[in-house]
Symmetry: C3
Subunit: 342 residues, 3 copies
C-alpha cells in the first residue's frame, strides 16, 4: 500500500532538532535531512546529495545556514539550491536538492512530503495547541520506533476494545470497554466517543483520584485525522457531575511511516490537573513509555510477523462491532490513498 503523500506528518519533536547540527530521519521511505537556520527556523531537504548521492547529514553546517557536503564540499542553501562549488571558479552548478514545507508549533515539527503547492500550513496539527500551553497543561512525551506498518499502530490507537485486555492491569476499564462507540465524521475527521456512566474507574484514574472503588462517569473521546493523527481525551468525573469538575488527560498519538514495515511513533499526555506536580509528570511519562513498549509494541510487532509478508487487506481482517472506529479509519484512509494514486 503506498503512503498518502499530500498530508502533514510529524517529522520530530521540537527538542530533537538542536541548533548547529544535522539530523537524518527516514520518512515515507525517503531520507530527509533536518537542521535549523541561524534564526532557529527548521529546514528539511532530501538527505541525498544531488551531485553523487553522498549523505548530506555526513556534512556540516556553514554559517548556520548552508549544508556543506562532506564528499566534495558543495554547499546548499536552505532552499536546497547549490550555492557554492569549491572545486571550481565558476558560478555554482544549477543543481539542487528537494526541500519540504515544515511547520513548527506546539512542540512538534510537521513535514509535507507531497506536492508542495497543496501544503496548507494551517492544517499542520494546530489541534495540538495544548502541547504548548504549560500554564494550562502539564505534558509528558516520548518516541518509539516500531517494527511494524503504521496501519497496525493506527488500528491499535483507534481501538478501545483492546485496552481492557492488553492493558488489563494498567489502563483497562471494563465499563469503557463495554460502552457503545458513537462514531461521527466531520470534514473527513473521524470522532469515536465512548461514555460509561456510574462505573469503576480505570486503575490509572482510580490512583489519580486516590480512590479505586468509588464509581465515576468515565469517557474516552477519540479523534482521527488523515493520515496518522490521533488524539484521545480520557477523563473521569463524579457521577453526574460536569466534566469540567473532573480530571481529563489528552493523549496524543502521531505516527509517521518510516518504511513499509517500520514506523515512527510520537506520543504525549497532557493533563489539566496537578500542573505543578512534576513528579507526577515524570511518573506518567515513564509508565506510559513502559506500557507502550512492553504491551503495545510487543503486540504490534507480533502482528507484523504474523502477516508474514502478506498485506493487511489480503490477510482479510474481520471487523467486529467493537472495531467500528478502526474500520472507519482504515477504509477512509484507503479511499484517500486510492484517490491520490488516481
Amino acid at each position: 500500500m503506498p503512503f498518502l503523500q499530500n498530508a502533514w506528518y510529524v517529522a520530530a519533536w521540537t527538542d530533537e532538532l538542536g541548533t548547529g547540527s544535522l539530523m537524518h530521519r527516514k520518512l515515507l521511505n525517503q531520507d530527509i535531512l533536518f537542521y535549523r537556520r541561524a534564526d532557529g527556523s527548521p529546514v528539511a531537504m532530501t538527505a541525498r546529495c544531488p551531485h553523487r548521492f553522498a549523505p548530506l547529514h555526513y556534512g556540516s553546517l556553514v554559517e548556520g545556514e548552508r549544508v556543506r557536503c562532506r564528499y566534495h564540499g558543495l554547499e546548499f542553501g536552505p532552499d536546497g539550491r547549490c550555492v557554492k562549488n569549491p572545486n571550481s571558479d565558476g558560478p555554482p552548478p544549477q543543481i539542487g536538492t528537494r526541500t519540504f514545507p515544515l511547520v513548527e508549533h506546539h512542540q512538534l515539527i510537521w513535514i509535507w512530503m507531497g506536492n508542495p503547492d497543496l501544503a496548507n500550513p494551517a492544517e499542520a496539527g494546530q489541534e495540538y495547541d495544548y502541547l504548548g500551553q504549560p500554564d494550562r497543561y502539564a505534558v509528558c512525551k516520548g518516541y518509539l520506533h516500531l517494527a511494524c506498518n503504521f496501519g497496525l499502530a493506527l488500528d491499535n490507537l483507534m481501538d478501545a476494545a483492546h485496552v481492557n485486555f492488553l492493558h488489563d492491569s494498567t489502563l483497562g476499564s471494563e465499563a469503557l470497554t463495554l460502552a457503545k462507540t458513537v462514531l461521527r465524521e466531520e470534514d473527513g475527521v473521524i470522532f469515536a466517543e465512548r461514555f460509561a456512566p456510574d462505573g469503576a474507574p480505570s486503575a490509572l484514574f482510580g490512583q489519580l483520584r486516590g480512590n479505586c472503588e468509588e464509581h465515576v462517569d468515565h469517557w474516552a473521546d477519540g479523534r482521527w485525522q488523515a493520515p496518522c493523527r490521533i488524539s484521545l481525551k480520557v477523563g473521569v468525573t463524579a457521577v453526574g457531575a460536569p466534566r469540567s469538575e473532573g480530571m481529563e488527560i489528552r493523549a496524543t498519538h502521531l505516527l509517521t511511516p518510516e518504511t513499509e514495515t517500520t514506523t515512527h511513533y510520537f506520543w504525549a499526555l497532557a493533563r489539566d490537573f496537578q500542573l505543578d506536580n512534576s513528579m507526577l509528570t515524570e511518573q506518567l511519562g515513564a509508565t506510559t513509555q513502559a506500557i507502550f513498549t512492553n504491551e503495545d509494541q510487543w503486540m504490534l510487532e507480533g502482528q507484523q510477523q504474523m502477516l508474514n509478508g502478506e498485506s493487511f487487506w489480503d490477510a482479510k481482517p474481520k471487523f467486529l462491532a467493537g472495531d467500528v472506529a478502526t474500520a472507519a479509519v482504515r477504509r477512509r484512509l484507503d479511499r484517500l490513498i486510492r484517490a491520490e494514486q488516481g
Copy 2:
C-alpha cells in the same frame, strides 16, 4: 518449489508440547499454534488471530480448552471457532481460525497441512512404533534447526555414499559405501538396501562390539515415504550369521520444512540391544547430535549458500551411480508436488 500439502509432517516431539502452555512453530511457511486440551489431546490451529492478526501464542489457555487472544480477549475453542467476545454482549462473532488434523503416537505429533478431507490418521507415521516400545528398543532423540531447504537434508539422508567421507571418523564404513544399492518401490515407498558381507565394521559398530578388526556382515536398509519420512536400519552380525543374532540400530529422520530455506529436523536412534545401558543411550544421543551438527548441518548449510538463490533443479545436479536412491526420491517427490499443483 511449493511444498507437498496433502501429507503428514512431524510437528513436534511429544515431550516438546507441555500441558497448560501455548507453543508456536512455523511449518510449511505457516505460523501454527499448538496446545493440549485438558484431556491431554493436542490441538493445532493457525497462530494468527483471524480478527486482526495478533499472535495467538502471545495469549493464554482458558480452562485448559480455549485460547484467549492477548489483544482483544477473543476466545477460540479447540475447533478454532470463536466462542467468546468479551467486548460485546451479543453472541460470539462467526469467525474462526483454521485447525489442523493431528495424530500423536510413538513420541511424535504429526500434522496434516493440506485438505483435511484427505487426512487419514492411519497414514501418520505408524511405522515408527518402535520409538514407543521401551521394552524392545532403547531410544535417544534430538532436534536440529537447519538453515537449508529440506530437500538438501533429504538428499543427505538417502545418500549412503556420503557416510564414508563426511563421517569418515565416526559412521563411515568403506564396505557399505561400495556395496551396491538395491532399490525397490512399493506403494510409493522407496526402499534402498545395501549389504556388505565379510568386511570391517564402521567405527561405531566396532566400538559397540568391542572389536574393530573382526569382519562382520554389515547392512543399511533405507526407507523413504513422501514427503520427508526416512528410516534406516543399520546393523552388523557375525559373518554368515542371521541378522537377529547381531545388533541393529533403527535411525529415524523426519524433516518438516519451516520455510523455503529452513527446516525442522527430528531424529531418533532406537537400538535393540543393551536396553538397560542408559549411559550408552546418553552417549549415542550426544554423539549423534554432535555428528549431525558438526558434519551434516555444516555441509547442508554450505550447500544452501552455494546455491546462492538458485533452485536445486536450475543448478543442474549431477546424479551418479551412488545416487540412485537420492535421485529416485527427488524425482518421485517432484512428481507428487506437480500432481498436487495440477
Copy 3:
C-alpha cells in the same frame, strides 16, 4: 547493471593464497575456489561441486594437485574434471567444475570470468610491474571489503575533487583540487592528469619533504582501464625542477565486484624514494588503510544507503566540471557492458 564479464579482475594478493590450503572468495556474484598446485601455480574453479553443490572449499587438497569434496570424496583436477569417484569402481564420472584463467605477477592474482577464448594473459595488469620491483619501489598494500557497489568506489578513485574535502587533513591539496583535469583516451584507457605548479604541498608530501610551507610543483596523473583498474601517480618536485628530482608515489586501486552491493578493494602504494625506510613503509600503509576505512569507506557505504535500492543511473547523478574523469569512466564502462550484453 550486469558486470563486465570479459575482463581481468584481481582475485587476490599473491600472499593471500598459501600452499596446501583452499581459499574461497565470491567474485562477480560467483563462488570461486582458489588453491596452488604443487608447483605453486594458482588454480581457480567454481567452488560449487557439480555433483550436488557442496562447497569445494570445505574439502581438502590431495597430493597438492586435486581438490577432494568433503561430502562424497569426488576429486577434481586443476582442469576442473572429475578424476576420481571413491564410491564406485568404474571410471570417474564425466562431470567437471568450471575453471578460470589466472595470471599471477607483480604480487597480484588476476582472474578472467568471461569467455576463456577471449582471455589474453598479456592484458592482465602488466602495468603494475612496479609492485614487484623491490629494488626500485617500496610497497605497502592492503585490502578492504566495501558494502557498496564497485561503481561508487570507482567514482571515488577517479575523482580528484573529493580529496581536498573528504581528506582535508590528510591527502588534500587545494592547488591540485583547483587544477584543471586534462583528459585523454588511448586505446580505451582513460588518462586524467592534473598539474598544479608553485603551490603548497599536501600535508602528506609536506611531511615527507620535511617542509609544509615551501611551494612545490604538484601533480596527480590518473589512469583507468576497464573495468576496475586505477592507478595514480602523485608527486611533488621543487618549483620548476624536473619530476625525476622530486618524489612520487604510485597509488594502485583495484576493485572487484563481490555482489551488486559489495566490493573487494585491493590497494597499494609504491614510492621511489627512501626505499630502505621500512618504518616509513609501515606508517604509509597504516595511515592509508586508516584513511580509506575512516573516510572513503564510511562515505561510500553511506552513498549506497542513500541509493536505497535505486540504481546509479536511475538516481540521476549530476556530473560537474570536476567530474570529467569520473563521467568518462562511467560512460565508457556502461558502453562496454551494453556492448557485451548485445
